[in-house]
């Protein structure tokens, strides 16, 4: 593997992660890591196990075995609350919004601001939501309507706003631009660069190889639940990464005949 030896402690290390559904091994012995201020893209075809792998980090689904270390310390992440304690925030592909309540309620779901009498401080929460949305998506003005009446892009902004508002150290983005138009996609790319500069580590799952090459520092490729390999973006071409995704071999292992089959 063309991997630079790192002196620093990784922000996240996931070692030998395994998840099985019944007899199907969705994730089989995958090891990935992430450094502060770095974007690691997780790529692979449908059913490669990217989302399942990342769910063990966000607490949505427990791993059967494997070890997760945050800043070198082994941790147990049994549910989403544990993940949030370690500063792990996730933007799910499904967005995971409660459709019947408004943007403000979704922003603070599970972490509501309270008045000194223990009741919900609606005004303060709406104010904070307006501020962050002003930064992320200035056109967003529907703070009082249930999110199910918002457009796909607006819903995505709510999910993104929720993930970045609570000072995340580790951000997981599962297809963050899937529902977005070109202008909004550019905005998300801008946001990722900004968060990166703030020292946040980002796991990015994406189908769009151009996005990946635009935003990621390293690329981890998965195929059928296994890790094909992790490469530095600067060391490979798009075709080589595509080869990894489809054939499941690192660039130097691929034979000429296999490459010809691809074309």
């Amino acid at each position: 593997m063309a991997q630079v030896v790192e002196e620093r402690t990784p922000l996240v290390e996931m070692r030998n992660m395994r998840v099985a559904f019944g007899g199907v091994h969705a994730v089989e012995g995958v090891t990935v890591d992430l450094f502060p201020g770095e974007v690691v893209a997780l790529v692979g075809g449908n059913g490669a196990g990217k989302t399942t792998l990342i769910k063990t980090l966000s607490g949505a689904h427990p791993a059967d075995s494997g070890e997760i270390r945050i800043e070198g310390k082994p941790v147990t992440i049994a549910n989403p609350r544990d993940a949030k304690v370690y500063g792990i925030e996730t933007i799910y592909q499904t967005l995971a919004l409660a459709d019947n309540v408004d943007a403000t309620a979704n922003m603070f779901l599970g972490r509501e601001l309270k008045t000194r009498w223990g009741s919900l401080d609606e005004a303060a929460m709406e104010d904070a939501t307006r501020k962050i949305m002003g930064r992320l998506n200035p056109k967003f003005l529907n703070f009082k309507t249930a999110v199910n009446s918002l457009s796909g892009g607006q819903r995505q902004s709510v999910a993104i706003a929720r993930a970045v508002h609570f000072n995340a150290r580790i951000l997981i983005m599962d297809e963050p631009t899937a529902a977005l138009g070109p202008a909004e996609t550019a905005q998300v790319a801008e946001l990722i660069k900004q968060l990166k500069a703030e020292g946040i580590g980002i796991f990015l799952i994406s189908h769009d190889i151009h996005d990946v090459f635009d935003l990621a520092d390293r690329i981890s490729v998965m195929l059928q639940g296994k890790l094909v390999g992790t490469v530095n973006k600067t060391d490979v071409t798009m075709d080589e990464v595509l080869g990894m995704i489809i054939i499941g071999k690192l660039p130097h292992e691929v034979s000429q005949t296999e490459l010809e089959k691809l074309h």
């Binding site: 499904t94 779901l109 509501e112 009741s119």
Partner: protein, 436 residues
């Protein structure tokens, strides 16, 4: 970020549009609730005309308020249960078990231990009832949330089990009488707070409305959010205050029956004049209880994180779990809360009957669910209001008492109530489909 980008468009007030719809929008009133109030008024006026002027009388409205209280108390809890995508079919049977327990305690067990007419009897009975309600409800909620049996099945089982337990507790006997103080909860001959206190309650409510509206306006102003136009704010406050005072006035227009008034006067050494005395009963204790429950439940549903979680779970259970909410524990709590409200309703019912029978609360699960659903609670979960459920209970009770006044036979009454339930939900779902 700059404040102007987010606020400027919000500050622009819609001018020119002075249609009824725009007027309503400016007041930010829930149009669904407003529709229900209008429907209720139509029912009331309709029955008044059809029954030959007996419906809209102080006497009938006073009785209506008392008859509605037990179902309304339970319906406020049913809203949260249904909003969380569950159902509780066991409330009627639970009511019987809790009612029977409270009756046995005060009629047979506690008098032996403490002596007859001991002051603590009613307190202990009520406290035990409330705890028992919470335990039964919480137990059923535990099976739903942690064992994973659908709530329809768990509470259908509960409906059979608790009814049987209620019968077994007293072998089908009627347990009576209730403690004298406990009986006040039923709103019987003495279970009212009187004219003066009714006005005081009305006064407090008016002050509370004004304080709440001003406070909300101040809060929103502090953050520079859009405010209601002043005329809407003042108009809304005025309508609410007038409604409260009007209700107190109507209730206070219902005097005690002559014999009771005479007894009342004798006890207080008032000379009984030739023409008799007009002594208003005032708001009945169960109605006061119902009002307090509705207020507390509204607060819980809209201003506590627990209420917010219940709605989030109803909207998207998976998202709620991913958001870090303890969804299972929240479900247990909604069922336990339902149990507590059932216990309160059981107290009202047994106190009102001055007895407990094993058939207590039979079919009340259906009235409670119907009240919640007529009040706009969606069985798909995620949608519902406490005020709607209380109005729903009032609509159901108005239909029944109106038909009794018109002398309609019981079978026909059931037919009408059934049809109204289905039509109300049909109208509601039509309205919902159009608005989204």
């Amino acid at each position: 970020m700059t404040d102007t980008t987010t606020k400027a468009p919000e500050r622009v007030e819609e001018q020119g549009k002075r249609s009824l719809g725009a007027l309503l929008r400016a007041t930010e009133i829930d149009t669904r609730l407003l529709g229900m109030v209008v429907a209720l008024l139509v029912i009331w006026v309709g029955f008044h005309v059809l029954s030959g002027g007996t419906f809209l009388t102080a006497r009938n409205l006073w009785n209506l308020s008392v008859q509605t209280s037990a179902v309304a108390i339970m319906a406020t809890g049913m809203v949260l249960v249904i909003v969380s995508r569950n159902i509780d079919l066991s409330v009627g049977s639970m009511l019987a078990v809790v009612g029977m327990t409270m009756a046995l305690l005060q009629a047979e067990i506690l008098p032996d231990l403490l002596g007859f007419d001991h002051w603590a009897i009613w307190v202990i009975s009520l406290a035990v009832g409330l705890v028992l309600g919470a335990l039964i409800g919480g137990f059923q909620g535990f099976i739903v949330a942690y064992v994973g049996v659908p709530s329809f099945i768990v509470t259908l089982g509960g409906l059979l089990v608790w009814r049987g337990v209620a019968w077994a507790m007293a072998s089908g006997r009627t347990i009576a009488p209730m403690d004298a103080t406990f009986q006040l909860l039923g709103g019987g001959s003495r279970g009212s707070i009187g004219e003066t206190w009714s006005w005081i309650v009305g006064g407090v409510a008016v002050v509370a409305i004004v304080v709440l509206l001003t406070n909300r306006r101040r809060q929103r102003n502090k953050y520079g959010f859009r405010l209601r136009p002043m005329w809407a704010e003042v108009g809304l406050g005025a309508v609410a205050c007038l409604a409260v005072l009007g209700a107190v006035w109507v209730i206070n227009s219902y005097p005690m029956p002559a014999r009771l008034a005479q007894q009342y006067a004798e006890e207080r050494g008032i000379v009984w004049p030739e023409g008799g005395l007009i002594i208003p009963l005032g708001i009945a204790v169960p109605v006061m209880l119902g009002l307090v429950v509705a207020l507390v439940m509204t607060f819980i549903a809209t201003r506590r994180s627990f209420g917010r979680y219940v709605f989030a779970i109803g909207g998207n259970p998976e998202a709620a779990e991913l958001g870090g909410i303890k969804t299972r524990w929240t479900v247990v709590k909604t069922f336990a809360l339902m149990g507590v409200l059932v216990a309160l309703a059981a107290a009202v019912q047994t106190a009102r009957l001055n007895a407990a029978v094993s058939g207590l609360g039979q079919l009340s699960e259906l009235y409670v669910i119907a009240a919640a659903v007529i009040g706009g609670t969606s069985l798909a979960g995620g949608v519902g209001t406490i005020a709607g459920a209380v109005l729903g209970a009032l609509v159901m009770q108005s239909l029944q008492s109106g038909m009794v006044l018109m002398g309609i036979d019981a079978p026909l009454q059931d037919i009408v109530v059934g049809v109204v339930l289905v039509v109300a939900v049909a109208i509601d779902s039509f309205y919902r489909r159009r608005s989204t």
